[in-house]
């Protein structure tokens, strides 16, 4: 097991190296320089380039970047002119992480309840309603839901603030709900099918035969067993939240890392593009690794090698 994790971590570092290299050289294909103010004279642009080391040969810039990155120095943002990239990301990542975590917790808990309710009321009205809700949840993109929530609870019934972050907890509610919809829907469908399957399984039949009440059967046996596989869903769902939050951050004016990433591309803020790409890919790979490990722990039939 430990050997396996170590192997995966080494692979992760190698993959990151590939991502860094690919991003670095792809960025060079974009035309022009980050300094597009038409009022800058060619001498001033040359001076700025030398200050940021952009006048060096490409291989040297690449090498300098790798050495810097290995030491935790990701350079200084061109757009946010004073700020080191590590500081820029350091301030914004926790915001996106909090938003993602809140959405995941709310979504999964809601999904567990709805999925169980759906399975226990199989093929009646409750199941049908929840089925419609979860289908909508999967098919409606989070940013559409975000705009609907802003309209309903920001303006029609102004219950919650519709923009900003970090001033009050109430600011986090609408963006959390918008993001939570998709994990809630996925969890609902997953739990429903898992539970329907386990309700008809042999051990549940045995429990019933033992004379346990219907309630006890569901609580003690069916529910617990069908919940566990949900854990394996968390990795992919977290990855989905990473990409989904970019638009939600824009709609709710949340200063998160996703928004930063999007803004850095048109302004050709090389160091920020590199830094956020590294962080995104590292997070995604760690999520996948955690999912794999969890799956192995939960289901002994899966062997890690």
């Amino acid at each position: 097991m430990w050997k396996y994790i170590l192997k995966r971590l080494l692979l992760l570092i190698f993959t990151l190296f590939l991502v860094v290299t690919a991003t670095f050289f792809l960025m060079q294909i974009m035309p022009g320089t980050p300094f597009t103010n038409p009022k800058l004279t060619p001498e001033a642009i040359a001076q700025l380039k030398s200050t940021y080391g952009l006048d060096l040969p490409l291989w040297q810039q690449y090498l300098n970047y790798l050495i810097g990155a290995a030491h935790g120095d990701f350079g200084i943002s061109f757009q946010y002119q004073n700020q080191p990239v590590s500081m820029l990301i350091g301030q914004r990542l926790p915001i996106s992480a909090q938003l993602g975590a809140q959405a995941l917790v709310v979504g999964v808990i809601a999904g567990l309840f709805m999925g169980a309710a759906s399975a226990r009321n199989k093929n009646n009205k409750i199941d049908g309603t929840l089925g419609i809700i979860s289908t909508l949840g999967i098919s409606i993109p989070s940013f559409i839901l975000g705009i609907i929530l802003v309209y309903l609870f920001g303006f029609k019934w102004p219950l919650f603030p519709v923009s900003g972050w970090g001033d009050s907890f109430s600011q986090t509610i609408l963006p959390t709900l918008a993001l939570a919809m998709s994990p809630a829907a996925i969890t609902t469908r997953f739990v429903r099918s898992e539970m329907i399957e386990s309700l008809s399984s042999d051990y549940v039949q045995l429990a019933k035969a033992k004379g346990l009440s219907a309630k006890e059967v569901v609580n003690q046996h069916a529910y617990r067993n069908s919940m566990i596989p949900v854990l394996t869903l968390i990795g992919p769902m977290a990855a989905g939240l990473l990409t989904g939050s970019t638009l939600i951050e824009q709609i709710f004016s949340i200063p998160g890392i996703g928004q930063q990433f999007v803004l850095s591309i048109p302004s050709k803020d090389f160091p920020v593009i590199m830094g956020t790409t590294i962080v995104y890919s590292a997070m995604l790979m760690v999520m996948i690794l955690i999912t794999d490990i969890l799956t192995a722990i939960i289901d002994p039939r899966v062997r890690l090698q």
């Binding site: 603030p161 009050s168 709609i251």
Partner: protein, 544 residues
Amino acid sequence: MDTWKKVAIGAAAVVVVGGGTRAVGLWGGEKSAAKGTLNYSLPTDIQTLDISKNTDQYSNQIIGNSGSNLLRVDAKGKAIPDLAKSIKVSSDGLTYTAQLRSGLKWSDGSKLTAQDFVYSWQRIVDPKTASQYAYLASGVKNADEIVAGKEKVSKLGVTSKGNTVTFNLAHPMPHFEYLLTFSNFMPQKESFVAKQGKSYGTTSEKQLYSGPYTFKGWNGTNGTFELVKNKNYWDAKSVKTQTLTYQVVKKPETAVQLYKQGKLDEAPLTTTELYSANKGSKDSVKVPEARTDYIEYNQTGTNKFLANTKIREALNLATNRAELVKEVTGGVSTAGIALVPTGLAKTASGKDLAQYVAPGYTYDKNKAAKLFAEGLKEIGETKATLTIEAASDQPANKVVVDYLQGSWQKDLPGLTINQKFVPFKQRLQDAQTQNFEILLTAWGGDYPEGSTFYDLFKNNGSYNDGKFINDAYTDAVNKAETKDALDQSDRDMDYKNAEAALFKNSNYSPLMFRAHYALQNSDVKGVVTNTTGLIQDFKYAYRK
């Protein structure tokens, strides 16, 4: 199931308690229109509070209102003393001597000295600072050499002695007094900047303030913060507003809703949908921008059609600017009448400079067709094909080019117009290498003085992309920037002559002056608005 029941009950409790406390206003975030408080918004995050490095107009709203310079632009657009008691200019226009007011203080109570100005000027031109606005200092002795790394920072023509700051210029600069109002040249305290190091200006705590307000509550990423009256400001008695709250609202639709709920005192109507939905409102106010969209003709001789003055004049006459503005912006922007936009600067007698210099661009399709035919005949052709190039990054450009193509082809028989759209960066490069025939360009002014536009087209000037030679124009602009640098009414006349010279030769064509509308609460009085520099100065602002 018991644990799940607990969770469910817990969740329900959170909702009830949360909703309840929210309803009674324990969560903050609710704003009322209190008398000593004004409420504004910014459409983007603050990028930096670093005085030398900032280039963003929204960050400048904070920097400019929480800082002061030697001079400050008043409601009439004149630069009047702020931290300076007086400024003397030598008769050759090369030396400016500023005497500071006595007892000036930073927001932390420490003494604000003449050296703080010298340090700020040295810092912006220092290559190590890498400020993208270093070029603004060009014209001060040795500034260009220092920016290029060829001279030591200490050689800059800005020095202090006791309570005076002296500026030595390499050549007279008609706009120099406006640089003394600019936020990028506001004083900075060297010991403070050095102490903060890399984190200087990255949060509201990591900056000192010299202006009417101090800045509070910004941690580098959050979206609500305040300008609070600065009791150490020399003219604090004139500042009537205690607190100015700001929130970052990225969606203009949201800002408009907040305005209608009374939570904001201003909301920009930056989309055509918002403009048309709100244009009947009595709060809707037109806000001019210091920006002109214009057309450049390649006059290097590589294109024989555009080398012909009559053909260029025909194109200018076949341009219905009023209709163009209606088509492109729904009538929000203003039809172009000159190179310098309306609302940028005033003449010595207080008239708008653009109105004063306007040489009379009109739409006359019959005259245009006649001139076009004559022009073609002169070069022995019967028809012409020309290409308009524009940047694809701005959707409005497509409407402009479509309009020009349609109306020119209709009004000028024998003319075929092609369209060429390239990314902005490519367009810049094509402009500089004269790799275009007709180019759609825009220019934004830096300060409220004509030279910020009239510098563009001097013979062999770096922004004269069409590379035309117009001696009458160049002479008039040079006269304004040397002999008449200190005489505004003569300078106004020089700019009028310069504009007339461009008109006569049809060297370019002004299309439109950009503007937008905004909803503004009419109870807020005393806001000084500018199209360059500090867009809204809240020093004298108050709620009626």
